[in-house]
Assembly symmetry: C2
Homo-oligomer: 698 residues x 2
């Protein structure tokens, strides 16, 4: 495979710094010094019209004047000079440019125009661009820092490791790098992509998949330029066995909270991203530094076979606080075997032979030997998947950490060594460095590592062939479907619904009720009425003709008094009863395509926000996995003696809806089944009401 | 006021170190060196039979040989020698001893015996004891470290400040101290109380209330020896205007999860502690280090008048991640006034003139002047209560922090300066030190500070006079009350209940139903049946005699088939309907006395764990505050067009139950009103079912 622009960027034989100077107060000065101080061994070519030599290296006035091939040029010049220099680089056959300068697309339309012109110039010459408005990159194993940030060289040189980082934010890249210094995490490469005028985040991501030095891929993402390509890259990383960790900004951006659909309001932009990540087994983070620390654990520790943790501390207080925190999570403590407890009997008094272990409570003289014994017992206990050390100031910090790390390595289990105080971290550092082992700044970070282990091992939906659903004749080509139309569409997809008949008049309603059989429900139909029951538009449990007639009158009056003057009539529907009320929905996401949503119906969906979202289609098995991930899952599973709900029927319905969504693609803008009434186990689930919006086919 | 033992401990004129040596590997050696290295200016008296002099100070073989008064003796000798040395100290008139040695009460009954003997010896001589099994104390302003831990002197000397700390764990005290070094927090005193053989946590706490150098009191508590005294101390601290921050271990200890009562299972030991803290306006923490950092902010920053935050960063990425995290909390971002936005117009392009502000997005040259301008505008904006800085590696870190801290101080608003990376903290440190200002290690810590501001400003219930409720005649003196008995008790307390009649036979049930008026409910009564509805023991909506008869037969059959053979009959009750189902309960807590519990009924109480607990009694106003703090409060407040519930009636009922609990004290072991059916606003709330257990009066 021939070298592409990114290969040159990450492993150049020669680098020109345009705007190089001795002034560390300037971007160009810092970029030039970083290149030297980082230990880069390739050819360095400083470009500056006003200098002959800098730090003993010959300076050339322009790129054109510099002899030999130049692989990469770093441009740290004022914005207005960038286009000229990019032109010179293109003419000189430079393979790739790093554009640090800002005031391009991010500054408005005029800047975007100048940025587009740069890309045109570069493409014409077969030259690639990184940036503009970025902070460059670093490849520690090559001693390469193509960046004006002092962080890469301030902390005592570049730290080599196996974490590959690509970041949409330059400043945040430097922040992650700086935080990594505190716990000894190292990188195979760090790249900030800035405005992504040419090279975009996914280009770098794809490069990492094939890079043997990159064991874990980490990304900071604000918005994706090409989400479908990103999704394909996630799939390829998964196949290649490379864990992917992502920090996504903009989770709280509520977007257009469309009140016309539960699904649209629940499954917004971030939910779609989350679904895509889950689809490919990538793990999401709230905090960029947490992501790097978890990546470090994944890259340097043995993988955890489960999440049964063993808490170890030199302080009883720290042990119990860590245990309190962990007890509030979804994870459970390991329970040592009787054999392990017996082996600890000689060293520790009764309550201290069980987890969490307070090493300070040794009944013999406290020291490294006792800790080594405890380390061996705990690490080799078959019930322990992962050791969590809550380190506090105590004697023998280094020896204690070393004992557990060694025992963990020998047993093939991860040891999450956590310490809040810098003073303790400093004391642990030499022992950890000897073992090339990571540390964490607190129990919260350890919990996020447990979540990462679990996330990477989680079930993914797997590929499912789309089963084609055809839109039944008689439905409108586009626009909002009526309840009856939506349920017709659902039935075409194989979803079980209650029977219903539209009635335009009071007499028609009574006739329809007799046809369906009592009891029935009456539901007002109006193009502007969304939450029917909030406006007195629904009457349930109507037992006879009189009840239907009275209900019709009530509904008419109630809608009128609530200001709805466009009531078209009522749907008369079979009355469904069950043990739970769910919602199933679908939405076409412009970035990731059709999504399926499963959640609790009624007030719970609004108040508890308990929903699961996935890329459609999904098989019933995976739908069941999603249902079991709902916070209130126990409500379906016999909590407090409640009947078991027919979750298999819910899973089947969700799978059917997901195939409908996948089959219709962009044509199905949004669809809600709300509620899906779920019977007791074996009794099925029925769509009682539905709404949908179709878009014209392309 | 004469000096007591604790005064001597915290400000001794002379200190003897028993077991002093030059060996830093030993407790005695470290304690001796700490005293010298900490800068203590009082008289130091090393005691060691085998030395004449240590670090140029004369050594005496025993306490008895040492001339002059000795205020405090630090005992760092093996456990078996402690009783002898304590005897010698008592004989020599020492005012207080610090007992570092362990293997006393914490090691079992034999150790407890030896510990009790020490206390007897000390009390007879009027000498106080700290410990045993503790790590002593430090008073930085006196250069005093009576402790073998190296932490007090390792970090470059003792750090003076206004945080007062008392800890039940010695190791955790050293951990909090070490973590404080990272962010520059300082202490008025740190005391670890160990086994609390003589001096207990609350003694130290009370001392801090009166200590002018202690601005904030922080405690690490495992279990309280004298909870009532602790509660009184909390009340006194509140009156004295001293904020109290507490880290309580053992939150996850589920205790005896009694299935016989919702209240007992919901309002366990930790809930009682939490209620007591809320009662006196103390703020609870999960993590000890967070507590110290929040205390530092409280002690050194201006108090926040609200929680509308302004996020500032030098990185757009860090700003948006911080905003995402904050958006997931109960707090809301400030919105700058139009005037402020206009003042930023010259420096920042359109999207960057609003919060969060990315200082890096300055459209003029980026530098300290621009930051100072932004700092002034944000700090003086009337909509901003608190500034949160998410600092990343960037140019002018010190100047930027200084600009905002100065502006915040001038405007009387707190600035929460957060930085994850040590490298950034190091760069900020000089500027923060100049302003005697704290920093935080991340946005999570800033969020906890916002919670502390809110917690300290939160409504507390206030003192309420107990309204006496007398147990009605005819109720059993002790034991479990039947539903009818429990409701009789509730009515005596002024709680509205549904009408009910006990029926021992099918015919009686029909007669009772006719007396109450249809529709009615039938509820099985059996001493062993707790969750009636789970065993088919409840039939609702019975409309006529036939329905009641059929229900009786069903219930009898259902209970029999579920293995209950002790059905005494059924309660026939008036049918209550409403818009919400709540639970109100009471429990006598051995530590804090009568508690009142308010939560959602039905499945929500079990699954969502949404309850509020307070010390009884409470006024209806405060009950309403508690109701509004429920997570699902919006269900009562018209969420999704639901009717407004009669929360005033719920508050009144809860207040009545709280007076019942306060009035009966220990006699009311536990009481559940479950459910309390709540009508729409104005329609009241009725206790539909009740359970209670009485204990014999003392």
């Amino acid at each position: 495979m021939s070298k592409d622009g990114l290969d040159y960027l990450l492993d150049p034989a020669s680098v020109a710094v345009v705007g190089a100077s001795e002034d560390l107060g300037k971007f160009g000065g810092r970029a030039f010094h970083n290149l030297i101080d980082g230990g880069y061994e390739g050819r360095i070519v400083p470009i500056n019209r006003a200098r002959d030599s800098l730090r003993g290296i010959e300076v050339f006035p322009t790129i054109a004047d510099a002899p030999g091939d130049i692989d990469v040029a770093v441009l740290a010049v004022p914005s207005q000079f960038v286009d000229g220099v990019v032109g010179e680089c293109a003419a000189a056959g430079v393979k790739a440019c790093v554009l640090i300068s800002s005031n391009f697309a991010e500054a408005g339309p005029e800047g975007l125009g100048r940025q587009n012109a740069l890309v045109e110039t570069a493409r014409a010459a077969g030259m690639r661009l990184l940036g503009p408005n970025c902070l460059g990159l670093a490849v520690p194993s090559r001693g390469l820092a193509l960046s004006p940030t002092v962080v890469f060289t301030l902390g005592g040189g570049l730290t080599t490791g196996n974490i590959a980082l690509v970041s949409q934010s330059g400043a945040l890249m430097t922040q992650m790098y700086a935080a990594a210094l505190d716990t000894g995490a190292g990188f195979s490469a760090c790249v900030s992509v800035g405005n992504q005028a040419d090279l975009e985040l996914v280009d770098v991501f794809e490069h990492y998949i094939d890079d043997p030095e990159s064991r874990v891929i980490t990304c900071y993402v604000e918005g994706l330029k090409t989400p479908a390509r990103f999704a394909r890259a996630l799939a390829r990383a998964r196949e290649a066995g490379k864990p992917v960790l992502i920090t996504k900004a903009g989770r709280s951006a509520s977007g257009a909270r469309a009140v016309t659909s539960h699904t649209a309001s629940i499954a917004g932009e971030f939910a779609a991203f989350k679904a895509a990540a889950a689809h490919y087994g990538a793990v999401l983070f709230d905090e960029a530094e947490d992501m790097i620390r978890a990546a470090d654990v994944i890259s340097r520790c043995a993988p955890a076979r489960g999440t049964r943790y063993a808490v170890i501390s030199g302080s009883g207080g720290a042990a119990v606080l860590a245990t309190d925190k962990l007890a509030a999570t979804e994870f459970g403590s390991a329970v040592l075997t009787d054999e392990s407890v017996a082996m600890l009997a000689d060293s520790y008094a009764e309550p201290h032979r069980r987890l969490p272990i307070d090493l300070g409570a040794s009944q013999k003289s406290y020291g490294p030997d006792r800790s080594a014994l405890a380390a061996g017992v705990v690490a080799n206990d078959p019930n322990v998947d992962c050791i969590i050390m809550a380190m506090t100031p105590q004697p023998f910090i280094g020896e204690t950490v070393e004992a557990f790390v060694s025992a963990g390595k020998a047993a093939g289990k991860p040891v999450l060594v956590s310490a809040q105080a810098g003073l303790v971290r400093t004391e642990m550092a030499p022992a950890l460095a000897r073992h090339d082992y990571p540390s964490l700044p607190g129990i919260e970070a350890a919990i996020r590592c447990l979540r990462t282990f679990r996330g990477l091992a989680a079930t993914v939906p797997g590929a499912a062939a789309v089963e084609t659903v055809t839109i039944p004749d008689g439905l409108p080509v586009a626009g909002a479907l009526s309840e009856i139309e939506a349920k017709t569409l659902l039935r075409a997809a194989g979803v079980v619904t209650t029977g219903d008949i539209f009635a335009a008049s009071r007499d028609d309603a009574i006739g329809a009720a007799n046809k369906l059989g009592y009891p029935v429900v009456l539901k007002a139909q109006s193009p502007t009425l969304v939450h029917k029951s909030d406006s007195g538009g629904v009457k349930v449990g109507l037992a006879d003709d009189n009840a239907v007639g009275a209900a019709w009158d009530d509904i008419t009056a109630s809608l009128a008094s609530n200001g709805f003057d466009d009531m078209a009539g009522c749907v008369v529907a079979e009355m469904a009863t069950g043990v739970a009320e769910m919602i199933v929905g679908a939405r076409y996401d412009p970035a990731f395509g059709p999504l399926i949503v499963i959640g609790f119906g009624g007030v719970l969906v609004e108040v508890v926000e308990d929903v699961q979202v996935a890329l459609a289609p999904i098989a019933p098995d995976y739908a069941l996995t999603m249902i079991k991930r709902l916070k209130l899952w126990s409500l379906l599973d016999g909590a407090r003696g409640r009947p078991l709900a027919d979750v298999a029927a819910v899973a089947e319905a969700a799978s059917r809806v997901s195939h409908l969504a996948a089959s219709l693609g962009e044509r199905l803008t949004v669809l809600d089944v709300n509620p899906l009434i779920v019977g007791a186990a074996g009794d099925g689930a029925k769509a009682v009401d539905g709404r949908a919006t179709l878009a014209e086919g392309k």
